[in-house]
């Protein structure tokens, strides 16, 4: 017979997530009666700041939504605006945007795996503690994050709020010699990425399978980043302009992030969802490496998100290598866009998942209205559903410290970027 005691846990700030959030759990008679992931990040109103601004200011402004994934915001924005202007920047720009995105996946996943997620699995409170026992692994992780930053700097001068992206392409094309030097550094990291992938597959991760819907963009010929249709494993296959017909944002009283449902159900976006839907688009060499490591997709264990990120780190380097090997300096690094009125949609794969933008522009190319749906607000309902299932499966008889750690691990699987979604985790368990 399980002891049912009245306990209240309060953690003022959830560590190792981006931003500030809180978690309220109410347990009564051994049942979870209420579970709210509260996001208290003050509202950020970016969509309103954009109104009246010129199209050529958007990439610099939306980058400020996130210090970890500014490239994602820039990518969704420029694609949407180019759709309005019927502007096709051509294959060079397309390839370079893919390379830039590889940089952001590497930087963001490298940071999350090593600094935010991994310490939990070894019982450390921070990467600094972990580094004493696993110095090589941590150094390797920082090197993988570092190469991502370097790729972003290659195009944007700096890795946070890079300045190189514009509607129509890039302000400046990197020199061939710089591309060759970067290629060499990227290639050197491939062995690190392979070692990380093998290590992540060997970790003793909790065995916990849940039923959920995965959503990602899917491209006919490649592992989707900037282009593709929005698909789900529940059979959806949509053009990005139809997003709003199926995905509905609504406000929960406990959060400044708007919750998003697909057909009235929570769903998952991000690395695991992408691999569940697009693993067949990985290059043959990566498929055989996954096979060798015993990594199989689709995978319904959210704790395997760390493996999914490791796969995408490897893929990011692999793809960056391919693009850099073929690098040529173009005649022009952008095409001049000609403003016109209309509505455009941009849907790209941020490190944390689908990032959907919609812009209405006037004839001079000024923003009339903007809507931005970030990945964390899409995952928030899924996180709550996961917490509910996972804490029950784990067992509410565990003491508060164990429950809290488990809850935090579940939340970190999603790498929530709370600042993006509108920051903070303050866990209160009410048992009565």
């Amino acid at each position: 017979m399980t002891e049912r005691r009245d306990i209240s846990i309060k953690v003022p700030v959830l560590a190792r997530v981006e931003g500030e959030g809180a978690l309220d759990i109410e347990v009564r008679d051994g049942k979870i009666e209420q579970l709210n992931l509260r996001i208290f990040e003050p509202p950020r109103l970016f969509e309103k700041f954009l109104e009246g601004r010129s199209y050529n200011e958007v990439a610099d402004i939306v980058a400020r939504i996130c210090g970890i994934c500014p490239v994602a915001y820039q990518m969704s924005a420029v694609h949407a605006i180019e759709q309005v202007f019927e502007c096709d920047p051509g294959p060079w720009v397309r390839d370079m945007r893919r390379l830039l995105y590889c940089g952001e996946w590497l930087e963001s996943h490298g940071l999350h795996v090593h600094l935010l997620a991994l310490p939990d699995y070894f019982g450390f409170n921070s990467v600094a503690e972990m580094a004493k026992q696993f110095p090589d692994e941590v150094r390797r992780g920082l090197a993988l994050q570092g190469i991502g930053n370097e790729i972003i700097r290659f195009f944007g001068g700096r890795s946070v709020h890079p300045i190189g992206v514009r509607v129509g392409g890039f302000y400046k094309a990197p020199k061939a010699a710089d591309a060759a030097a970067l290629l060499q550094k990227v290639q050197q990291q491939l062995t690190h990425a392979e070692a990380l992938l093998r290590w992540s597959a060997s970790l003793d991760l909790p065995d916990s399978t849940q039923d959920f819907v995965s959503v990602a963009t899917r491209h006919a010929g490649e592992y989707a980043m900037n282009e593709g249709r929005i698909v789900s494993d529940a059979g959806h296959d949509l053009a990005s302009e139809n997003f709003e017909n199926y995905f509905k944002e609504h406000q929960a009283p406990h959060s400044t992030a708007l919750h998003c449902h697909l057909d009235d159900r929570p769903y998952l976006v991000g690395p695991l969802a992408r691999l569940n839907l697009n693993h067949d688009r990985l290059p043959a060499a990566i498929k055989s490496l996954l096979h060798e490591c015993g990594i199989v997709f689709p995978d319904r264990n959210m704790f395997h998100s760390i493996i999914a990120r490791s796969v995408e780190i490897y893929y990011g380097l692999y793809e960056a290598t391919r693009i850099l090997e073929n690098y040529v300096v173009p005649g022009l690094s952008y095409v001049e866009a000609i403003p016109k009125a209309g509505i455009g949609f941009g849907c790209t794969e941020a490190p944390r998942g689908l990032l959907w933008h919609r812009y209405e522009l006037d004839a001079a190319g000024r923003i009339v209205q903007a809507t931005i749906v970030p990945p964390t607000s899409q995952n928030q309902a899924r996180i709550e559903e996961d917490l509910h299932n996972e804490l029950l499966a784990f067992g509410l008889e565990h003491d508060d410290a164990a429950l809290r750690l488990r809850a935090e691990m579940v939340i970190r699987n999603y790498d929530p970027c709370i600042s993006c979604s509108t920051h903070f985790l303050d866990l209160r368990v009410q048992r009565s």
């Binding site: 560590a15 402004i61 400046k172 400044t256």
Partner: protein
């Protein structure tokens, strides 16, 4: 190694959580936008020997300060179905408007060199150097072609603090002032130049009213540009 000379006491994103610890240096990021933060910043000040703001939000209110001249409640209602649940102040304000700030690190984003330099200076017991030159100095030292004079682009370099490495001109584009106003900036003269390039009053205002829109010199210049539009 700098990391061995300091103890990181509170840094939630990296792990350590001690929000009420007494510290030698508190680095504060972000502006004041909620009632809770108004109180929290007083506690941080009381607990810290040096309070240093990092980034445009903490130092100048950030891009978030664009709300300060808007009707926030209307905006909230446009985004949230039930905006009464949202805890927010009408304004986004710099830390220095609420408590004494010892040093300011301008920039969106700041560079790691700025952090390292200020900690090193304090460890040596000297006053940290604060960058006051304009971006133009930094840009000239690099030998970039001037995007304003040669490229006829509306570059904010002449009124912007150096420190970023003159990245935008290096990439052939106009500076957008993410490092805030330099000392003794002359925005009127630059606005006139922009007018000569054919920029409309609203476009000139947007140049000043961006990442550091609430820095007094920029706020004033933006207001003037808008008023010119209504003449």
């Amino acid at each position: 190694m700098l990391a061995e000379l300091v103890d990181i006491v509170h840094f939630a994103e990296a792990g350590p959580v001690e929000p009420d610890a007494r510290v030698d240096i508190a680095f504060v990021e972000g502006s004041i936008t909620t009632a809770g933060e108004l109180q929290r910043i007083q506690r941080v000040r009381a607990n810290s020997r040096y309070l240093i703001t990092i980034g445009a939000c903490a130092t100048a209110g950030g891009i978030q300060a664009l709300r300060n001249n808007a009707n926030v409640r209307d905006w909230m209602a446009a985004i949230y179905a039930q905006s009464e649940f949202i805890d927010t102040l009408e304004t986004s304000t710099a830390i220095a408007e609420h408590v004494r700030v010892d040093f300011e690190l301008w920039g969106c984003p700041i560079s790691s060199q700025q952090i390292v330099a200020v900690i090193r200076a304090l460890l040596f017991g000297v006053v940290p150097l604060q960058e006051q030159d304009s971006l133009c100095f930094e840009c000239k030292r690099q030998g970039n072609v001037c995007v304003l004079v040669t490229g006829q682009q509306a570059c904010m370099g002449p009124v912007t603090k150096a420190g970023c490495g003159a990245l935008c001109p290096k990439f052939g584009r106009a500076c957008y002032a993410c490092y805030g106003p330099k000392e003794n900036a002359n925005p009127d003269s630059l606005s006139q130049r922009f007018q000569g390039f054919g920029l409309l009053p609203d476009e000139i205002a947007h140049k000043f009213l961006s990442i550091n829109n609430s820095a007094p010199v920029f706020a004033e210049a933006g207001k003037k540009a808008k008023e010119n539009g209504h003449d």
